[in-house]
């Protein structure tokens, strides 16, 4: 476990090698090989570390590799604190799970990308892997960091990589704009996060998670009021909304789909966007002490889940659907954290990472097959052409829809159970969302894989081209949809298996008691959320529902999901015309949803226009008032000069001549100082020295 610092370092090294040398010198296979090897090594180390962690008595391990910021005394609310940040990594169950997700899915996506990005020119290809590795480096740093500041390095780093990767095809304006949007929106969140971190230091005098948690544990729960911990949590949550695309800062994530699909899968589905959830979970103790903020978190999560799901209902871009689905599922996670079910949130995070990465990669495979076509209306009947993709994506969809025994069912159900216990209204929203989720996911599946083929026609591949195999089909001549190469389907298979089995680590108590298996992940993760609360473990929110209620809830949610699927089947497979009918019948609602509730327009009208308007206002002020004053002064001067000129010329002629003569001579003298002759300047210097020496002589010997 002492080697965990190598886990982020390996991808970092890969990025350095590829970035510094590779872009210029390496061939595609070499670059991809280096990147994959770095990730693979990292994965192996993670597995190793995780295994050790499972076997260890004390499930927390901190490795300090260097002293980053030496102790600096800074004033805090509780006196003078030593502002000291060691470069330390922390391995505990939560971060252990996260590194497994990041390295595991990261490795698979690296493999997938090495084939998916093959049609890129060499430089871009290497650049892509450089960014990807760099992302993993920062993500792992974020996850492993043992203090807010180390985490913040990773936090900002993944933001940077996200920006770079969204704008990977920077020559495309929409991509570049999307990158900028993501970056700027994230900055707003980061601002909150940084303020939160400042406040943490100001309050606790340290930035170490563990010390903060221990300190916070001894402070009273701010149940009634809105104290300093609440403020910290709120600020941190603002950061989380930015990174994890929650209302109101979710707008960047759908646009981020401009990036290459593996990027969407890795960054904007499986890992980076969950950083916010991770961060909140990491500071579980803090949030526990701020119930009001918890409630805000829960509401925001639930509303985000619902809103994103509704938008997802009508999107036709395959990746946009998945993007809104991601936002929605992230909302679920926040809902879970908001109701105190941190382990449920983390559990859902993990299962979601599997099936959402799977879905994205599958959609990438489809897009790949359709020659970069993303509109689902132009697809259809794809299962005929790409059975593997179909099967795996189908599995993913079932998982996300929450059909047992696929993973999504368990995690979602746990969240629903907790929410039910905590707040029935939120539970209602969540259940509706679950139904919608099932609907739009199967809408996606049905539109894409079933029905008639609606895409463009293609020339039949003649025999001479047949020899070239699949890889040759990109770019030049498209020979119709086709199954993706082995390198792309393998990760799909692996993730599909993951999407099926990942849920078994968190079997709910009701079923668990029935078949004699405990909720493994719940117990495993528990120490991470109660760190520093040695005696308070039992006090922590648990599920106090009876098994009957649980069973009922499960059955209900499965029913809702099944309804969603059925609705989708009816509308898009059996009677596709019904969908169009709906569209016309509910035109207004459809328009609102298609335009994503006009949120972008709203932001544009308020934030962007507002900034512009205030800028213009300042400019007007500058031009009108400041310049006016200057010009007025100038005009006054001119007027006065004219008056004095008249006086000079006509009234006091003799005096004027004298004054003029003095000025002429004077200017001549002064101008002579600026001769451009170095030696004259030297004379001046010498004169100065001479004066000094004279003063000295007089003062010392005469005076």
């Amino acid at each position: 476990m002492d080697l965990i610092w190598l886990i982020p370092l390996l991808p970092g090294l890969g990025a350095a090698v590829n970035g510094l040398l590779g872009i210029r010198y390496f061939s595609k296979p070499v670059a991809a090989g280096i990147a994959c090897a770095a990730m693979g090594g990292s994965l192996l180390l993670s597995l190793f570390a995780f295994a050790q962690l499972l076997g260890a008595e004390h499930r927390e391990h901190i490795v300090t590799i260097a002293n980053w910021i030496p102790p600096i005394p800074l004033e805090t609310v509780s006196g003078v604190g030593q502002f000291e940040v060691p470069w330390a990594f922390r391995l505990d169950p939560l971060s252990g799970m996260m590194i497994l997700i990041v390295t595991g899915i990261g490795f698979l996506i690296h493999l997938y990308s090495s084939s998916y990005m093959d049609h890129e020119p060499r430089g871009g290809y290497v650049r892509f892997f450089t960014y990807l590795n760099l992302f993993c480096f920062f993500m792992l740093m974020l996850v492993l960091g043992s203090s807010f500041l180390v985490m913040f390095v990773g936090w900002e780093g993944v933001g940077l990589c996200s920006y770079l990767l969204i704008g990977f095809w920077y020559h495309k304006k929409s991509a570049a704009d999307a990158g900028k949007k993501a970056f700027i929106v994230n900055r707003i969140g980061d601002f909150g996060f940084v303020l939160g971190v400042f406040l943490v230091f100001f309050t606790f005098g340290t930035l170490d998670f563990r010390e903060v948690a221990e300190a916070a544990a001894h402070m009273p729960v701010e149940a009634g009021g809105f104290g300093v911990i609440s403020l910290i949590c709120l600020l941190l949550f603002v950061g989380a909304t930015g990174k994890s695309a929650q209302i109101p800062l979710y707008v960047w994530l759908p646009d981020a789909m401009e990036g290459p699909t593996p990027v969407s899968a890795l960054i904007h589905a499986a890992t980076m966007v969950t950083a916010g959830v991770y961060m909140v979970a990491r500071n579980a103790v803090l949030f526990e002490h701020a119930p009001n903020v918890m409630f805000i978190v829960a509401v925001v999560g639930a509303v985000t889940a619902l809103v994103a799901a509704t938008i997802g209902l009508v999107q036709t871009d395959i990746k946009k659907v998945l993007a809104y689905s991601t936002v929605s599922q992230l909302g679920y996670m926040f809902l879970a954290t908001g109701v105190g079910a941190f382990s449920a949130a983390a559990f859902h995070l993990m299962t979601h990472a599997f099936f959402k990465a799977l879905l994205f990669l599958g959609s990438g495979s489809v897009i790949h097959a359709m020659n970069d076509e993303q509109d689902m209306q132009k697809m259809g009947n794809m299962r005929r052409y790409m059975p593997v993709t179909f099967i795996t994506m189908f599995v993913g969809s079932i998982a996300i829809a929450g059909i047992p025994p696929f993973s999504g069912f368990f995690s979602k159900d746990e969240i629903l159970a907790y929410t039910f216990q905590e707040n029935k209204v939120l539970w209602g929203l969540a259940v509706i969302t679950a139904g919608m989720t099932a609907f739009y996911m199967f809408r996606l599946i049905f539109m894409t894989f079933f029905g008639e083929y609606r895409g463009p026609s293609w020339e039949k591949a003649d025999d001479s081209h047949g020899d070239h195999g699949h890889d040759d089909n990109h770019g030049h001549a498209w020979h119709g949809p086709h199954e993706s190469p082995r390198l792309m389907t393998t990760p799909l298979w692996v993730l599909a298996v993951g999407a099926i089995v990942a849920g078994f680590v968190g079997i709910p108590a009701a079923i668990g008691d029935f078949i004699g298996v405990g909720n493994a992940i719940h117990h495993f993760l528990e120490p991470s959320f109660t760190a520093g609360l040695a005696g308070h473990g039992d006090e922590h929110a648990g599920l106090h529902l009876s098994h009957a209620v649980e069973w009922a809830l499960m059955a209900f949610s499965v029913l809702v999901a099944a309804c969603g699927i059925g609705l989708a089947y009816v509308n898009y497979v059996r009677r596709p015309e019904r969908a169009a009918q709906w569209k016309t019948n509910w035109a207004g609602a459809h328009r609102v949803l298609t335009n994503k509730y006009y949120v972008d327009e709203l932001y544009d009208a308020t934030a962007v226009k507002g900034t512009m308007a205030s800028g213009r206002g300042l400019w007007t002020f500058d031009k009108g008032v400041v310049d006016g004053a200057v010009n007025g002064a100038g005009w006054l001067t001119r007027a006065a000069a004219w008056v004095s000129h008249v006086l000079d010329k006509y009234i006091v002629d003799g005096l004027v001549n004298l004054v003029g003569w003095i000025f002429a001579e004077g200017s001549y003298v002064f101008r002579r100082g600026q001769t451009g002759l170095i030696q004259n300047y030297a004379v001046a210097t010498l004169f100065g020295v001479f004066v000094f020496v004279t003063v000295y002589v007089v003062a010392r010997y005469v005076g």
Binding site: T675, L677, V683, V689, F690, V693, Y701
Partner: protein, 171 residues
């Protein structure tokens, strides 16, 4: 006695050659006088028991820097003498006067202060573990003055690079 003879002889030579440097019309002659001047200064250093400096003075100044001047003088193949053109705004005479006045003032300070309190002050350097001028100088340079010494080497490197860049034909 011996020191006095040496000092006065050398002083006359140094000052005379110094005057020659700045008065000779031909630049090459100036350079030659400069070399001779530096040699005399080196001998003065020997009188002052700074043998190492004396040798360095010859090696670096006379053997190195002034050769550079000589090269430049020979490369700068003047088609017209620089003294042909004079800017009317120069303050040469004032400069001359000021320099003279400075000299008088400085001399007055020195003479006056020394005639008052003949100096016998010494502030010996701390004991060295080595003997001899070179060794002691080396000791100082490589212990107390190591960083300035290294900085000086960097300075020289930078100057070398700069001079090469400047002197390249295609600037």
């Amino acid at each position: 006695m011996a020191e006095a003879i040496a000092f006065y002889t050398l002083s006359i030579l140094i000052l005379g050659l110094g005057v020659a440097v700045i008065t000779t019309p031909r630049t090459v002659h100036s350079v030659v006088f400069l070399v001779l001047n530096f040699l005399c200064v080196a001998v003065l250093y020997v009188v002052l028991r700074a043998e190492f400096l004396a040798v360095i003075q010859i090696l670096v100044y006379a053997g190195g820097i002034v050769v550079l001047y000589l090269f430049v003088v020979m490369l700068v193949n003047l088609k017209r003498q620089p003294e042909e053109h004079q800017d009317p705004r120069r303050l040469a005479k004032i400069g001359l006067g000021l320099s003279g006045a400075m000299l008088v003032e400085l001399a007055a300070i020195v003479v006056y202060s020394y005639s008052r309190e003949p100096s016998s002050v010494t502030a010996p350097s701390p004991a060295f573990p080595v003997q001899g001028n070179v060794e002691q100088l080396g000791w100082l340079l490589y212990t107390d003055y190591l960083i300035p010494f290294e900085v000086a080497s960097v300075l020289l490197l930078v100057a070398m690079v700069g001079a090469i860049i400047l002197a390249r034909r295609e600037l």
